[in-house]
Symmetry: C2
Subunit: 680 residues, 2 copies
């Protein structure tokens, strides 16, 4: 008897000998090669496409003859006619091995394909969603062996897919009989396998082979905005992303106001839960409409959010989060159903996963950042800062990770700033001040031109210059400091002291005029002493949180800084460091991670194993509570100053060439350093 043909799969390199006549799909399964199939080898789904290679493969020590596989058969020909099969492709379930062969599994035929993020940090997501489709042939009922349709479906899943215990809910049970009959005793089921479940659950069922796809929603539920990404659960691609304002804003701009609203108004929490769920449903509905898909095919939703949003989403009164010891109702991750959260714009049997909270101030959004940025796997000591109304801060490396939350308040988002506004067209986002002339130039969102460009006015058009956003005010204050307009304590000098008429007296303090549009009926945009104080408070809180973690870790500096969040993506690392927002680090080791929380949500959506990973990681993270740590106050007060930039920033040294200045302190003490907002 001759030796069986050798089958070698690429890119895995897995190989084995199989009797002539073995379908390629069968060989792949027996070797554990990652080759997709929804129909289980019946030539229906076309997911098991493979590309045989012919010729000599010295690397593998084989020569592949033209007849290594059986000829293109009728099933493949029909599929090619109707849907088209790429040149050189075969259906793995139809092509049978005849001689030694090398077979490539293209990425789109891999179940656990890697989805490469486009962001700078380049993190791979391996597709391994909790919910997948399976096509099955169900035995017809037999009066001699009476079993229910569900029991015969369960047996089919066991026999055809080796799936163990399977359960289902009432919705599937109600439609089961007509569906399997309509499919002439074949059906496609959406099977959910939760990472903590000992059984699979049938979420939905369709007659015959279901051509559709399954989708998931990754939702970043912020205090201010709700962002959602409609994602294809087979390949991880984002079909559509959209955001809406969180309608809870009308109950309070910041988290603490909303907690207060719940405390002061009986039923206020119920009201806030209803509006946020309504907004999520509307958002999900519009995403499905935009992508022209049936919301019934949205099988999963993953939420990341801060603890107050978390409780209000769940319908839990957040009152305990408004007072020490800031006890969460539950801190662990939650696996729920769509009806649990009254989510109507997804499959009614759909599943919801909410990442774990780290502490009463450090939410699932921070856990999502950890899942995305992986400080627990970092070789260097990384500081990750997610700046929002609260800053979530992570510090650590593979040996240990610390986390805290710091109440920065809304100043970084343009609120509490005299000319502040949200990041939108017309908002000043970049600022430069000439240290010699003290004259400034700036850029606004929506245009790439600087304000001293002759074409600037035309470029911005009717929008005009409307205000200054978070990243703009940070640059303005840092530039003012570097230009000697502001001293180390944060005081703005007078026109005489600084030597520019742009410094204008405003009562007992001074303002710096950034832009005067009044001649054209536009605004006068100044940075006031109050603005500087607001930014000082915010940056002190952020810096103090980071320093507290560094103390706890016993380090004086960090090796890498990651700025996460929408704000983090727009912030200038140089200016942030001049301002003293973040601890010293080499400028080339400061990165923006974009919406890391949203990325974490997408990872949890696309890879079910990552859910256990983040749950375990969160359990190992050491939580540091800023509210009860006296050193936080010390750091906060100490951080109030706007530091004179020093080494190790040679590039800053070059810029900051002026000797430090100090202005008189009249009128500057009224809100200096001690005023704190709790959980803004």
């Amino acid at each position: 008897m001759s030796t069986d043909p050798l089958v070698i799969f690429t890119p895995s390199g897995k190989r084995g000998r199989f009797p002539a006549g073995t379908p390629v799909l069968t060989a792949a399964r027996q070797l554990g090669v990652d080759l997709d199939s929804v129909c289980g080898g019946r030539g229906i789904c076309s997911k098991c496409q493979i590309t045989p290679s012919y010729g000599e493969f010295s690397k593998h020590g084989v020569t592949v003859a033209e007849d290594a596989l059986t000829e293109f058969n009728e099933v493949e020909a029909r599929y090619d006619r109707i849907r088209g099969l790429k040149e050189g492709r075969r259906l793995g379930c139809q092509a049978k091995v005849q001689r030694d062969v090398v077979i490539d599994v293209p990425p789109e035929s891999q179940v656990h394909k890697q989805v490469v993020r486009k962001e700078a940090t380049m993190r791979d997501i391996v597709m391994d969603p909790a919910t997948r489709l399976y096509y099955v042939e169900v035995a017809e009922p037999d009066m001699h062996e009476p079993t229910g349709d569900l029991e015969r479906l369960q047996r089919a899943l066991a026999e055809q897919w080796e799936i163990g215990e399977v359960r289902t809910g009432m919705a599937v049970l109600r439609k089961l009989q007509p569906v399997v009959r309509k499919g002439n005793w074949t059906a496609t089921v959406a099977l959910y396998k939760g990472h903590n479940d000992t059984h699979d659950t049938i979420l939905d069922i369709w007659p015959g082979f279901f051509e559709g796809r399954l989708y998931g929603l990754a939702i970043d539920l912020g205090s201010t905005t709700i962002a959602a990404h409609l994602t294809d659960l087979r390949n991880g691609s984002v079909l559509h992303s959209a955001g809406v304002m969180n309608p809870q804003i009308r109950f309070g701009e910041d988290l603490m106001s909303r907690v207060s609203y719940a405390m002061m108004n009986p039923g206020g929490d119920v009201e806030m839960t209803a509006v946020v769920r309504g907004a999520i449903n509307a958002l999900a509905q519009s995403l499905a409409a935009e992508a022209a898909i049936d919301p019934g095919q949205v099988m999963e939703a993953v939420f990341v959010c801060n603890p107050v949003m978390h409780h209000l989403l769940l319908g839990i009164d957040p009152v305990e989060l408004g007072q020490a010891p800031f006890a969460l109702a539950t801190s662990n991750a939650l696996s729920l159903t769509a009806p649990d959260l009254e989510l109507t714009a997804m499959n009614p049997s759909g599943r919801v996963y909410i990442l774990p909270c780290i502490a009463g101030h450090v939410g699932a959004d921070c856990a999502a950042v950890a899942l995305s940025e992986e400080p627990h796997k970092s070789d260097d000591l990384v500081l990750i800062v997610d700046v929002g109304t609260n800053a979530e801060i992570l510090l650590g490396d593979k040996s240990r990770v610390l986390a805290c939350s710091s109440p920065t308040g809304p100043a970084f988002e343009g609120a509490q700033i005299s000319s502040g506004q949200r990041a939108a067209p017309g908002a000043i986002e970049r600022v430069e001040i000439d240290p010699a002339t003290k004259e400034s130039r700036f850029r606004v969102i929506g245009s790439d031109l600087w304000s001293d460009d002759p074409a600037f006015a035309e470029a911005i058009g009717a929008t005009g210059v409307s205000g200054i956003c978070g990243s703009g005010i940070i640059e303005a204050v840092a530039e003012m400091r570097m230009a000697g307009i502001v001293d180390g304590s944060g005081l703005i000098g007078s026109a005489e002291q600084v030597g520019t008429p742009r410094c204008e007296a405003t009562g007992r303090t001074h303002s710096y005029l950034l832009f005067d549009g009044s001649a054209e009926g536009g605004p006068r945009i100044s940075v006031t002493q109050g603005d500087i104080r607001a930014i000082q408070l915010a940056k002190s809180a952020l810096y103090a949180g980071a320093r507290l973690l560094m103390d706890e870790m016993g380090v004086d500096k960090v090796e890498r800084v990651v700025l996460a969040g929408a704000f983090g993506a727009h912030i200038s690392p140089k200016h942030a460091m001049v301002l003293g927002m973040i601890p010293d680090a080499p400028l080339d080791r400061v990165f923006s991670a974009g919406n890391a929380a949203g990325t974490g949500a997408r990872i949890a959506l696309c890879n079910v194993a990552s859910r256990r990973e983040i749950e375990e990681t969160v359990h190992r993270i050491t939580k540091v509570e800023t509210a009860i740590e006296p050193r936080f106050q010390e750091h906060f007060v100490a951080a109030n100053a706007i530091p004179h930039a020093t080494a190790p920033f040679p590039e800053l040294h070059k810029i900051v060439t002026l000797p430090d200045v100090s202005f008189n302190t009249a009128g500057s003490g009224e809100d200096g350093g001690r005023r704190r907002r709790r959980r803004g």
Copy 2:
């Protein structure tokens, strides 16, 4: 070092040595003695009461001194003052072992106490409900170790009760924080451990030590009536039972009519589901009101029902049950939640268990009969017949059990009988006919007097004699047969043939006048030829089903007959055998099991392990489908005759002394034997 004191528990006989100072409850737990405790030994719940015995116990080889246990302490004294402690009783968590001691655990202190049924067959139910109360002390939140309240509650259950994985739903999560604070960091939880669950589930939580009890509903959902038993889940006692008519009757008297209604009327199944759920909710509500308990403390419901009721309860269109091959949507047992079935008169997190169906015609009600009557554990060959609109029939012993369903139609329930009525006051339920005079006497429901008693008219009063119920018509026909009024083929003789003017001509056939109330404006109650035919059809179906199972089992007779169901409880075994309803068996081996299906439901409610037992039993039962079995038709036709009673019934022999008679067959063939109702 001296030997530790010996502690002997009765009635278990378990014994062990424990260091002096060991609380009795601790010793019991370590020995695995069944001693109850809800508070975990904190002197709060008083469930661990024990009775120490003093003196010499030669049987155990110990002498118990008066100071064998520590003295009655302040906790016990306070409990005795407030609630009263029976003479000689101690609290097991307070009394500590000092010397050798014999300790009795009274039945009320046993968790798994046996609840003895009052019915003749005397089956023990060991209390082991799926849902129990646990009192816990929850750690307060700590900012240095941030965990949610739920996680601290889970840890408390693990540490104080050795309970592993615990989950909960949104309802508990929402109330958790206020409850544990109100209870000053103590709480009582209702914990459900399903027989298929790998985790426990918190169904509800109360602040501090919860004095209340948990309840369950055992519900027998019949085509005609819905009966429910409100049961105490600690001791199995039935607080209150009640029944209502199944309001689905307006869509069709029998099952097939309801299936037809669903087939003919789009949405008809939804309508029927809504009305039956409404009736169940109203019934459960009235039971709770009657027992003066909070429906929120009703934590479980167990349902038994036939397959059509099963599907309509679940909201599944029963159309497939109306046609071969009678496929169930699901045959396995179901563990559901109250909201799954829109059950509103119980705890919103409450659980529902529905027993498995045996086949498309043999439902969860038959499984419940099997659980109650245990044919699979029987040493003798037992035939169990549950007579309703369908008869469910079980035949077997510990080696093998067979089951089938037979379409008896509603005649046994008094329907399709000329003077028939439901079993209610005024209905004739017992009949005797003198073989010599052909005169009859009878009894009606609501009176113990026979109709020939001078006080009869006064005793029944205004109710009068209104009709004849199922057991009455069976006795009437059997008595008519024994008195020679009816011949073997079922024909009623004429006045001349029989020799009594009570035999009246009615068209081409004759009737037997049982009661003539027309002089007083009351009814004339006769047994017509049509009545005899209806009873013949019903009894033939029943007998044929039983015979079919006997054929399958390869036996000619059975050793024991159990008549189950409300009807079975009222039926006279003698008359049933004369009629040929049931196969021959010694009269003293014919038993009534009462409402065995309801008993099965109560067993499944009180003992969670019994759920697995009946699920495994049902998987082993061989289902016989009467509809496709040619021998069923043969038996059905053959059984049409009303047999001449023969041995082995000497007592019947004595009664049936007349030679057999045969009347002319005019007008008797029109519906003889072949007419069948499918699934009436």
